[in-house]
C-alpha cells in the first residue's frame, strides 16, 4: 500500500518536474499553450491513474460476478433435476420401507391377537398393503394360515413341526378355502369377523386357511 502510494506520488512529482523543464526547453512561446495543455492532461492522467485502476478492477469484478452467477445458474439448473429425481427415488424408497414395516408390524399384531384370542397357532400371517392416491397405506389383503393346536403339543415340537409347513404359503383365494370340517369353518368365520372388526377390512380381503393339527 505504502509502496504503491510512493510510486504514485513519485510519478506525479516527476511528471510535474518534466513539464516545467519542458516549458524552459521550448524554443518559442507559440507552442507553449499547446504543450502546456498536453502536459496538463498527462498530469491529470497520472493523478487519476488509481481511479482508472479501481474502475478497471470494478469492471473485472462485475464481469467475474456475472460469469460466476452465470456458471452458478448453469450448475444449479441441472442439479435441480437431479435433486428432484433423487428426492423422488428417496421418497419411493421411504414409502416402500414404511410399507414393509407396516406390513410386518401388522402381521405381528394379527399373529399375536389371533393366537391369544382363538387359541390357534398362526403359521403365517401375510398383510398386503398399497398406497392409495393420497399417499396413505391401505390394506389390500390379509392372509392368515392357522393350525388348530393339538392339546398335547408343546413348544419345542411346535418349532419342529413348523418347518414342513413353510412351503405351503400358496396363494389361496377364499373360494378355494374349504375347511375340513364344520369347526374349522366356524373358526375361520370367527377369525374373519374379528379381523374385519379390528382392521376395518372387507371379507373379500381376508383369506384364511386352517390346517389340520399335527
Amino acid at each position: 500500500m505504502v509502496e504503491w502510494l510512493t510510486d504514485w506520488i513519485k510519478q506525479i512529482i516527476l511528471l510535474v518536474l518534466i513539464a516545467t523543464f519542458l516549458d524552459l526547453l521550448l524554443p518559442n512561446h507559440s507552442m507553449e499553450r499547446y504543450v502546456k495543455l498536453v502536459m496538463g492532461l498527462i498530469i491529470i492522467m497520472a493523478i487519476l491513474s488509481p481511479i482508472f485502476k479501481l474502475i478497471k478492477n470494478d469492471l473485472n469484478l462485475a464481469n467475474l460476478a456475472t460469469t460466476i452467477q452465470h456458471k452458478w445458474n448453469m450448475k444449479e439448473m441441472s442439479p435441480i433435476r437431479d435433486i428432484k429425481e433423487n428426492a423422488d427415488k428417496l421418497q419411493k424408497n421411504q414409502d416402500q420401507l414404511i410399507q414393509k414395516q407396516t406390513e410386518k408390524s401388522m402381521e405381528k399384531i394379527i399373529k399375536q391377537n389371533i393366537q391369544t384370542k382363538f387359541g390357534v397357532e398362526v403359521v403365517q400371517a401375510k398383510v398386503k398393503t398399497e398406497l392409495n392416491r393420497n399417499h396413505v397405506l391401505e390394506i389390500k389383503q390379509i392372509e392368515v394360515v392357522t393350525r388348530t393346536k393339538s392339546i398335547n403339543q408343546k413348544s419345542p415340537t411346535k418349532t419342529k413341526s413348523m418347518e414342513p409347513v413353510a412351503p405351503v404359503h400358496v396363494e389361496i383365494t377364499p373360494t378355494i378355502i374349504k375347511p375340513s370340517n364344520q369347526v374349522d369353518k366356524s373358526l375361520a368365520k370367527e377369525i374373519t369377523e374379528y379381523l374385519k372388526q379390528s382392521w376395518q377390512v372387507t371379507t373379500e380381503q381376508i383369506h384364511i386357511l386352517i390346517e389340520a393339527p399335527r
Binding site: L22, M31, L41, M45, L59
Partner: protein, 129 residues
C-alpha cells in the same frame, strides 16, 4: 566549452553571410541554414543526454510509458517545427513558417488524443450507474 564553439561558428557564419549576401543572396541563405543545422546537430547529443536522464528517472519512478513517450514526442515535434519555421522565416517566407508552426501545433494536439480519449471514457464510465 561547447558554447564557445557554437558561438564561434555562429559569428563566423554571420560574417560570411554578410559578405556573401551582396553578391549571392541564395548562397547566403544556404550558409545560414547549414550553420543552423550544424548547431542543432551539435546540440542534439546534449538533448539526448538530457532525455536519457529523464528516461532513467521515469523508469525508476515507474512513470507510465505512454506518458513519457508522449512527452518526448511533444518535445521533438516542438523543436523540429521551431527549427524549420525559423529557417523559413530567415529566408523571408513568413507564411510557410507559420504553416510549419501550425503543423507542429496540430501534431502536438494529436499526441494528446489518446490521453483525452482515456479521460473521457473514464468519465463516461463513472457517470452512469
Amino acid at each position: 566549452m561547447e558554447i564557445i564553439q557554437v558561438v564561434g561558428i555562429g559569428i563566423i557564419a554571420t560574417f560570411l553571410v554578410l559578405v556573401i549576401k551582396e553578391q549571392k543572396p541564395v548562397f547566403a541563405f544556404l550558409l545560414a541554414t547549414f550553420t543552423g543545422i550544424v548547431i542543432f546537430i551539435a546540440l542534439a547529443g546534449k538533448i539526448a543526454e538530457v532525455i536519457r536522464v529523464l528516461e532513467h528517472l521515469a523508469t525508476q519512478a515507474r512513470v507510465n510509458n505512454l506518458f513519457f513517450e508522449t512527452i518526448l514526442k511533444i518535445v521533438g515535434i516542438a523543436y523540429i517545427a521551431e527549427f524549420g519555421a525559423q529557417v523559413t522565416r530567415d529566408a523571408g517566407q513568413g507564411s510557410i513558417a507559420s504553416k510549419i508552426e501550425l503543423a507542429g501545433k496540430l501534431l502536438i494536439m494529436v499526441m494528446a488524443i489518446p490521453i483525452i480519449t482515456v479521460i473521457i471514457e473514464t468519465v463516461i464510465q463513472i457517470l452512469p450507474a
